[in-house]
């Protein structure tokens, strides 16, 4: 066992961990932040996507021990201060960008990373960006719509 200290959604936390503890395990089991999901556990699906030091990464393929001093942001850190939904979250709700909701935390975190780098992406850029996020319900059209809407762009999507 060893200790790791990191910042999660603005809060500094220290936890005892094993070498093999994954970041997603620390988040879900150690900190009770169960919004980050585990779909594949093999770095394919993107359900476990979080931001580490501002970058989108898959928390199922990172050891917690590597994150000493890092800043992590999860879906629980996405809402506005007053608890209302962020623009991206609201857009997912408005555009019905989720069905079962399993992939949604990863989708929202992925969308946030995209809009941070590219505030007005084209639809093609959104689709390309989402290649590492799989939606088993295949609700991709509405997810793309939501991200376009969150970027303040109108969506006139041909394929529906």
């Amino acid at each position: 066992m060893s200790k790791v200290t990191l910042t999660v959604n603005g809060r500094t936390v220290t936890r005892e961990i094993e070498g093999r503890t994954l970041l997603v395990q620390l988040l879900r089991e150690g900190l009770g932040l169960t919004g980050t999901h585990v779909g594949c556990d093999t770095s394919q699906c993107g359900a476990c996507l979080v931001h580490v030091n501002g970058q989108a990464v898959k928390s199922c393929s990172i050891f917690a021990a590597e994150l000493e001093g890092a800043e992590v942001r999860t879906i629980e850190g996405m809402a506005n201060r007053d608890g209302s939904l962020s623009v991206i979250q609201q857009a997912f709700q408005d555009c019905h960008g989720l069905q079962c909701g399993f992939c949604t935390p990863g989708m929202v975190m992925s969308a946030a990373a995209l809009l941070q780098d590219n505030p007005r992406p084209t639809e093609a850029e959104v689709r390309h960006h989402l290649e590492g996020n799989l939606c088993r319900c295949t609700g991709y059209h509405n997810i793309v719509k939501a991200i376009m809407a969150a970027s303040g762009q109108d969506v006139a999507m041909a394929a529906e």
Partner: protein, 327 residues
């Protein structure tokens, strides 16, 4: 996953000394290592975390570039000098994995990623690469993504990296640091091994040796193409890929470098094929002949037979595009 000791290295020298111990491995981005550790295909007793080492950064190196081993694949693909002078490297990187993985995957780790042979990942089946002498399940098994060149009766796995194929076409070199403190430079051409009767040996790294940088020689110019053929348009490994840097002068091919992915245990290059194309006027007939020479020794194992014509056609198409010759 088996428990292991985790150690964060504070300097390259400390890292290589720690890694010289038995059953010890480096961890960089972890995007390949973690998956294999979860499957217990790899079960190191100790991991040496190298991510805090000062091995990032892309710097000028004479007329070339020196790329730190920890430079993430995303940063390397986006670097303006890489995009301008070595565009095929940028394209190969962007054709691999996805954004979130490229944010974590490092230059050194990418070169050392393991094969995607299904049996290598399945501990319940024999695999010479995992346990030498157990036999190769792929030769008479499911081998759709397997090699057609340079195979042996002991292993027909491919090396899955796109980046390595680009670096091979660009004549990259590696800078290595050994546990006794000495440094050496090795051409990527001499780095990987064919399976032969030692398929568990994939490269010439000594125990504990660390890749510290990749060095690119001066840019060669010309048209650069990375064409990756895969089962779906994104997020899949190559069935066949072709990296090409071609310069045509006065109607003749003045420079040509070609490397091939998805077809061998290492990024494949064939000097005889390049020699054959050199100083010739580009034409569809020339490309067809080059493609048939490239595959003269190729051998399929059933499900991957299709890769032979696929490789031929992909090479011909890439050469046509690079030289702007239409059929």
């Amino acid at each position: 996953m088996r428990p292991f000791d985790y150690l964060r290295a504070e300097s390259p020298d400390a890292a290589v000394q720690a890694a010289a111990a038995p059953e010890t491995m480096f961890i960089a981005g972890g995007t390949n290592l973690l998956d294999l550790m979860k499957l217990e295909v790899l079960a190191p007793a100790r991991l040496v975390d190298i991510t805090r080492l000062d091995l990032g950064g892309i710097e000028a190196d004479g007329d070339g570039l020196r790329i730190g081993a920890l430079v993430p694949n995303s940063d390397l693909a986006a670097d303006p000098r890489v995009r301008r002078d070595y565009p095929l490297l940028s394209r190969a990187l962007l054709a691999g994995a996805t954004g979130q993985l490229r944010n974590k995957a490092t230059t050194g780790g990418n070169l050392l990623q393991r094969t995607r042979c299904y049996y290598f990942h399945d501990r319940d089946t024999p695999c010479n690469k995992r346990t030498l002498g157990d036999g190769c399940s792929a030769i008479h098994g499911v081998n759709r993504n397997h090699a057609i060149l340079g195979t042996s009766e002991h292993c027909i796995a491919t090396h899955p990296s796109d980046m390595a194929v680009a670096l091979r076409a660009l004549d990259a070199e590696l800078e290595l640091l050994s546990p006794n403190g000495s440094r050496r430079r090795v051409a990527l051409a001499d780095f990987y091994c064919l399976p032969g009767d030692t398929p568990h040996v994939e490269n010439i790294l000594e125990p504990g040796e660390l890749i510290t940088a990749v060095i690119l020689p001066a840019p060669v110019g010309g048209r650069q193409i990375y064409r990756k053929v895969r089962d779906r348009a994104s997020y899949a490994f190559a069935l066949v890929s072709v990296a090409a840097a071609v310069r045509v002068e006065d109607g003749l091919i003045a420079h040509v470098a070609l490397a091939f992915g998805g077809v061998a245990h290492m990024p494949w290059r064939d000097g005889a094929v390049e020699g054959f194309l050199q100083h010739q006027p580009p034409s569809p007939a020339l490309f067809a002949e080059a493609a048939s020479r490239l595959t003269a020794q190729a051998r399929g194992f059933g499900a991957n037979d299709f890769k032979i014509p696929l490789l031929q056609r992909t090479l011909a198409a890439v050469l046509a595009e690079a030289t702007e010759v239409t059929a």
